[in-house]
């Protein structure tokens, strides 16, 4: 059985390699970037790796996220993050572009159970809206940072009663990414 560490390295390979296949057919308005990032929210500290497709001023991103709190990441929670972004004054010629984004993520946390082990993971969902800046360093390399506020919902199965325990509240998320433009 493949473990999460192996899956992480293979996903890295796939994220870097796959979007370059067939890039000649892409319109010049479409750009594809890959990124590594780190983010801190009220739910946890995560590393992420993913890609983003930009069409004119709009962007759609998908990332695999992995808990890196206390540097014990490869055994920790994992999940998926999606981002919709809009950059009102975007230009390829600008060094700094700003954008707003809507971010949804779901993370799965392993349950440690004694009595009711019918479910393997508890999940936490986050919905955030944010503002970000992207700074071009080289032709293909940029860094970006977003500051988000939003809401989280944690649903956990009680080990003692078998009932679902919900917890929700306001959330904040700070995100930093290193982006690499792989197709244009």
């Amino acid at each position: 059985m493949i473990n999460k560490g192996t899956a992480f390295i293979l996903s890295l390979f796939l994220f870097i390699s796959c979007p370059t296949f067939g890039q000649d057919s892409l319109s010049s308005n479409i750009k594809i970037t890959t990124h590594f990032g780190y983010e801190i929210s009220n739910v946890g500290c995560y590393g992420n790796i993913g890609g983003q497709i930009n069409y004119k001023k709009f962007g759609f991103g998908l990332a695999y996220i992995l808990d890196y709190s206390d540097a014990n990441g490869l055994d920790g929670p994992f999940g998926v993050a999606t981002t919709l972004s809009f950059s009102p004054n975007h230009s390829d010629n600008k060094v700094i572009n700003h954008f707003i984004n809507l971010d949804y993520r779901i993370t799965f946390h392993q349950r440690f159970c004694t009595f009711d082990c019918s479910q393997k993971y508890n999940k936490i969902q986050e919905l955030n809206i944010g503002y970000g800046l992207s700074i071009k360093i080289f032709k293909r390399l940029s860094i970006s940072n977003t500051i988000n506020i939003g809401w989280y919902l944690e649903k956990s199965l009680s080990d003692r009663t078998g009932k679902t325990i919900s917890e929700s509240g306001s959330n904040s998320l700070i995100n930093a990414k290193l982006n690499y433009l792989i197709a244009k």
Partner: protein, 268 residues
């Protein structure tokens, strides 16, 4: 093809790196510090609140919780850490000078009401098996009626027949001596800055165990305490390094601020 081979080799290398000899930690009881740990950027549940205690026991599968005791001017006992209400709640002034009706109106700034000791007793009595409680009682607060606190504590322990699942920890030997005099069934844990004085206090007064900061004791210290027939609980355990260090010592109890990480490390 070369790239695929490289990444696959790298992946196999990483997957093979994390093999360590599995330790048996089944004798260590895990207590959530203040419930599911004290408030932090990634923990928005107020310490000693119902939500935090519920998360520790029902979601994070802790064996028990370490909670702090306060008493109001009417003699009702509450789970609250600080001497003053301001800072963490909508209330103000010294806890011990406020009435029960006033405390009931106070909300935590992070959400939720202050939890009463009797409510905790009722909640844990509804669960099977009953989780354990380590009740920290300090007699440092000047605005608290200490004799009333001790009287109420003894009454609650008797009414709930809680001697086998609630232990009392304090840095006041006088308090623990009074509790032992009231009933020999009280499980008492002394907290002092150095281990030798703790051992002496246990031997002289018949206390059951010692509470120490994880950084202040070594593996040999823990073995020494256990060899004398006393239990030892370690606190100050939150980060990965602190958890690994505490587990190596094999204490009887760990009071932890990051129960999820502790489980993950114990499982490795």
């Amino acid at each position: 093809m070369k790239k695929l081979f490289f990444y696959t080799t790298l992946a196999l290398f990483f997957s093979a790196c994390n093999k360590e000899e599995k330790q048996n930690y089944s004798n260590i009881a895990i207590y959530g510090h203040g419930g599911a740990g004290f408030e932090s950027h990634t923990n928005r549940l107020p310490a000693n609140s119902f939500k935090s205690i519920q998360k520790a026991i029902e979601v994070l599968n802790a064996d028990g919780v370490e909670v702090d005791l306060q008493i109001d001017s009417n003699g009702t006992t509450w789970l609250f850490h600080d001497q003053f209400l301001e800072g963490k709640t909508s209330g103000n002034d010294c806890f011990g000078e406020r009435s029960t009706s006033y405390i009931k109106t106070c909300n935590y700034n992070l959400g939720g009401k202050i939890f009463q000791l009797q409510e905790l007793m009722d909640y844990f009595s509804s669960l099977s098996p009953k989780p354990k409680v380590s009740l920290q009682v300090e007699l440092l607060d000047r605005c608290i009626d200490h004799s009333l606190l001790i009287e109420q504590l003894i009454a609650i322990m008797e009414v709930n027949n809680a001697y086998d699942w609630v232990q009392i920890e304090s840095d006041s030997p006088g308090l623990l001596i009074q509790l032992k005099a009231a009933s020999k069934h009280f499980q008492t844990f002394i907290r002092a800055p150095d281990l030798t004085s703790c051992i002496n206090l246990c031997s002289e007064n018949g206390f059951d165990g010692i509470i120490m900061n994880n950084t202040d004791v070594s593996v040999k210290d823990v073995e020494r305490v256990q060899a004398l027939g006393f239990k030892i609980a370690l606190f100050g355990v939150a980060s990965q390094a602190e958890i690994k260090s505490a587990l190596k010592k094999h204490p009887n109890q760990i009071q932890c601020d990051n129960i999820e990480l502790l489980h993950r490390i114990m499982k490795q």
